[in-house]
């Protein structure tokens, strides 16, 4: 009898040890059980794999032109055909994933950094600082993102970094708003008051309660903003105001293929498909994460 009790106590102890990670494992369990979220995860992994190993996945170079093989249809040598300069379309799409992910990550970093800083300033200090920042947010959000970004990119000139700046100048406002409202709600929470009442320092309250509670919001935010960043940057490139040819960006490939829609429909269609595939992956993940982190919002 006593033997059994010892086992039980050991198990209790093990459970206690695991408690700390149980929140996270619960989230992971919910995320895993969401088939769409897993599918999205697979999509994004495929694109990351392609971006990393692009040179090993294709025998062609993204800039190698071949005038004798212009606008060739899909075949065994060129799986997705060739473009108007005889370049292998699939190769350029593979290399395009590098451009897309690079721009996406840079935009998230740029607008996330500004937005989170502004949101924290706004939420913590309130008062005049809050008013000024929130009015600035209102003003910038009165412009459609893509239109202001077009005008900015038009003045600053094309290129990856200018795309990032043009989209980030408006994009940070989303983060600022979300971070601000999250901080306001955390500030009001009972456990913060409880922390203060047992004499915890402000520093300890920020690091022990506010930051951990804001992390899920940050994760969801990134998964929401990545699709927007990808589509907006592709749109700029499509309009000829983003990444310039011959750099293989998916957006400019859709635009280039548009002129040959009748002879070579595979250029535009396949380039757009890559954009959709990637964005869909991030959206599925974002949707799954939102449900996993906050199961009360659904069903």
């Amino acid at each position: 009898m006593s033997e059994v009790n010892v086992e039980e106590i050991k198990m209790e102890l093990a459970n206690l040890k695991n408690k700390k990670s149980s929140q996270l494992s619960l989230v992971w369990k919910r995320f895993k059980s969401n088939r769409l979220a897993l599918l999205g995860f697979v999509f994004v992994m495929i694109i990351i794999f392609i971006a990393i190993f692009a040179p090993f996945l294709t025998p062609y170079k993204p800039y190698a032109t071949d005038p004798s093989n212009r606008l060739m249809g899909p075949s065994r040598t060129h799986l997705l055909g060739t473009d108007s300069l005889g370049r292998d379309v699939l190769t350029r799409l593979f290399y395009g994933s590098r451009i897309a992910l690079q721009i996406g990550v840079l935009i998230i970093l740029f607008e996330g950094f500004i937005g989170i800083m502004m949101g924290v300033l706004s939420g913590f200090f309130g008062g005049v600082i809050d008013s000024i920042i929130m009015r600035l947010v209102d003003i910038l959000r009165s412009f459609p993102v893509i239109i202001l970004a077009m005008a900015i990119a038009g003045i600053m000139g094309q290129g990856i970094y200018n795309v990032v700046i043009a989209l980030g100048i408006v994009g940070w406002t989303t983060y600022a708003r979300m971070v601000r409202s999250k901080i306001l709600s955390i500030k009001e929470a009972d456990y913060i008051e409880a922390g203060y009442s047992i004499g915890e320092s402000t520093y300890s309250i920020i690091t022990r309660y506010i930051v951990p509670n804001a992390i899920p919001t940050a994760i969801v935010m990134i998964s929401i903003m990545m699709p927007t960043a990808l589509i907006a940057s592709a749109t700029l490139s499509f309009l000829g105001l983003g990444v310039q040819p011959p750099t293989p960006s998916w957006g400019s490939m859709v635009a280039a293929g548009r002129n040959y829609l009748l002879q070579a429909p595979w250029i535009s269609t396949s380039a757009g498909f890559f954009i959709m595939f990637t964005v869909l992956g991030f959206n599925f993940i974002g949707d799954g994460l939102r449900d996993a982190l906050d199961p009360t919002t659904k069903h």
Binding site: D138, S142, I146, I155, P227, F238, L261
Partner: protein, 310 residues
């Protein structure tokens, strides 16, 4: 002052501040880079004579605040400036092109709201059914497809292959179908999901259960009691999505060679015709600011319970 009065005073002050800020941004955009605006507009090969003429014409030799004041004063008189590229008044350029843009934007808007609201309601009524699931998945699908690509796919399938509709420009009434669909389908998702959530919430309310308990017919409960209340937040959603719909229409206009404000804007950005760019930026953003104020007014009007503090 009553709460209500205070709320509206605050709201209107905020709207005015935002409107002023918007004019500042539209004005300052040309001075974003340290270079000479005249050179930015005319290109690096422009002669000193032409540069000086442009500087003179657009007050570029004056300090910034005087330039801003001159711009704002002529705006107040209804003068949007003169295009460099067309050498015509921006007012005429915009007047010639506003019609097609309004047709496209409104048709797209109607498609997105009607589809979104209907799908949202059905999903909420048939909760957890295949229809509900389909609504969620199709919403994610539409927001994952870049509208310019959707437009090109539509062009390829319905214009080039099936030849059901004209492939470019505005030649007949059917011309608007494809651009409006490319614009509306992507936005539809933003109405379907909130509509579903709102409908579910309303259907759970006490008064709906009371209405059911009273023995009212199901469809009367749904249409007369639930729907009316669930639709209110869609008004806010409309104002929130307006900038995106306008932004989307710019891209769609380029895809379908639609001769509206959007293609004028893209061409002007590329030609560095900044008086036109500034005027269009300003008009669009002021429209968005007014739409937000308008949405607030309707919102409090249809639902007087809305809190009017802060």
């Amino acid at each position: 002052m009553s709460n209500r009065k205070k709320y509206w005073t605050n709201k209107i002050i905020r709207t005015i501040i935002t409107a002023i800020g918007v004019t500042l941004i539209a004005f300052l955009i040309l001075h974003l880079t340290p270079g000479d605006p005249a050179r930015i507009m005319l290109g690096s090969y422009a002669s000193e004579e032409n540069l000086e003429a442009v500087r003179e014409k657009y007050n570029l030799n004056e300090p910034l605040y005087i330039q801003y004041w001159a711009w704002i004063s002529s705006l107040a008189k209804g003068d949007l400036g003169t295009s460099i590229r067309y050498n015509r008044s921006v007012n005429t350029l915009i007047k010639d092109r506003i019609g097609p843009t309004l047709v496209l934007t409104l048709t797209g808007l109607i498609i997105s709201v009607v589809l979104g609201v209907v799908m949202g309601i059905l999903a909420a009524l048939k909760r957890n059914s295949w229809l509900d699931y389909l609504t969620t998945v199709q919403a994610i699908f539409w927001i994952s497809i870049p509208s310019f690509w959707l437009g090109i796919l539509f062009l390829y399938i319905f214009g080039l292959q099936l030849r059901w509709v004209p492939i470019a420009g505005m030649v007949s009434y059917t011309s608007v179908i494809l651009p409006a669909l490319s614009l509306g389908l992507r936005q539809e998702a933003w109405f379907a999901r909130p509509m579903r959530a709102e409908m579910l919430e309303v259907l759970n309310q006490e008064y709906i259960r009371a209405a059911k308990a009273k023995g009212l017919k199901y469809y009367i409960v749904v249409t007369k009691h639930a729907l009316r209340n669930a639709l209110i937040p869609i008004i806010t959603m409309l104002a929130l999505r307006l900038p995106w719909i306008i932004g989307g229409s710019v891209v769609i206009e380029v895809v379908f060679s639609w001769g509206g404000i959007g293609s004028l804007l893209v061409n002007s950005v590329k030609a560095r015709d900044y008086p036109v760019v500034q005027a269009i930026l300003l008009l669009i953003s002021i429209a968005v600011v007014l739409a937000n104020l308008f949405a607030d007014i309707i919102y409090t009007w249809v639902d007087p319970r809305i809190r009017t503090e802060g």
